[in-house]
Amino acid sequence: VTATAVADGGRAGLLASPARVTELYRAHLPGATRLAYLLTGDRAAAEDVAQDAFLRAASRLGALRDDAAFGGYLHKAVLNAVRNRARRQRLERRHAQPPPPTYAELPDVATRDRLWTALLRLPHRQRAALVLRFYLDLSEADTADRLGCRPGTVKSAVARGLAALRTELSPDPEVPDE
């Protein structure tokens, strides 16, 4: 492979064909967008994250022999993009905004909305582990592969995430009447 081959007509054999890119886009982008939405809770951000992750993943198509592996690769790109976005937001919040309201300050909403709200408040790794385990139904090993950590870490992240959700959803202790 020479640089010249990359730049001229010879690149047809090296770079992804338009049909392959379009096909992968149609097959994988909806799933990536849903995953990004579940991780960010923000429709606009989900679109941006999914598009950006697709571009990143697709730029490595040359190293990918099996298109079936592209989905997992795209998931990793989405997770990385969401994590980076969360870091940026954390920095911005630290300097610009007051902390988000605690659950007790939120209006009384249906349990599912409360669960969703509580999920979005979890740390990135716990939220990602829960989404991969309970939305994509991945095994602990596969979840660990996507997150780039050990299965034991996934296990503890899921356990802590569920415990945090239970705490958030448990009714407040009653205040004794005077």
């Binding site: 492979v1 020479t2 640089a3 010249t4 990359v6 730049a7 001229d8 007509g9 690149r11 090296l14 770079l15 992804a16 338009p18 890119v21 379009t22 886009y25 149609r26 982008l29 909806p30 967008t33 849903r34 990004a36 939405y37 579940l38 429709r43 606009a44 989900a46 679109e47 999914a50 571009l55 990143r56 697709a58 730029s59 490595r60 198509l61 040359g62 349990t111 599912r112 669960l115 969703w116 999920l119 829960l130 989404v131 309970f134 939305y135 569920l162 959700l165 239970r166 959803l169």
Partner: protein
């Protein structure tokens, strides 16, 4: 909540339906993907070339320490040079020119030299591309604002026959830069003094 995982599973599936619909593939999608791929491959090839050149150089020195053993693979000045100082100017390729003659490396995606130097004043830039790959030259002032560009040309046989020339106007002393619209990784310095 007795079975939180099941409830969570249901919530996630419900919420996933609220995710935005996927837009149709943008016409520029394939171009953007391929551009990223090309940059990635070029970087990989560049890294490999450097590694091979390093091994060759070390081997040549070890086997034949005589000066004739060294055979540089590419021009001595790297394409991506650090910010220039006047010390760097002294090492800039060639003599100061009243006209800048830019050429393209015959086998790699870069200009033939990483640095060109010119005399402050009225300048023309001539651009010769003898390769089959289309390139142009965009000239940026020291504030990195593009102010002149040549036609996009390739080797003789095409409309512009591999050559274009543009008037840069009167240039003051400063570190200008040259890039290629088609291949953003191509970069050279134009040092005007």
């Amino acid at each position: 909540m007795s079975d939180l995982p099941d409830e969570l599973r249901n919530v996630l599936r419900d919420r996933a339906d609220d995710a935005p619909a996927t837009p149709a593939p943008d016409p520029s999608l394939v171009r953007r993907v391929r551009r990223r791929q090309a940059v990635r491959m070029t970087l990989a090839v560049g890294g490999a070339t450097c590694a091979v050149a390093g091994v060759v150089a070390v081997t040549a020195v070890a086997v034949r320490p005589a000066p004739t053993a060294v055979s540089p693979v590419s021009p001595a000045v790297p394409t991506t040079a650090p910010p220039l100082t006047d010390d760097r100017y002294e090492f800039c390729t060639g003599q100061p020119m009243t006209d800048v003659a830019v050429t393209v490396h015959p086998t790699e995606l870069k200009f033939a030299y990483g640095c060109y130097r010119a005399v402050a004043g009225p300048l023309r830039l001539s651009f010769t591309n003898s390769t089959k790959v289309a390139h142009n030259v965009v000239v940026h002032d020291p504030a990195d604002v593009a102010f002149a560009k040549t036609e996009t040309i390739r080797a003789a046989g095409t409309a512009k026959a591999g050559y274009d020339s543009i008037d840069l106007g009167t240039l003051k002393s400063g570190d200008y830069s040259l890039t290629c619209d088609v291949h953003p990784q191509m970069h050279a310095q134009l040092v005007v003094r």
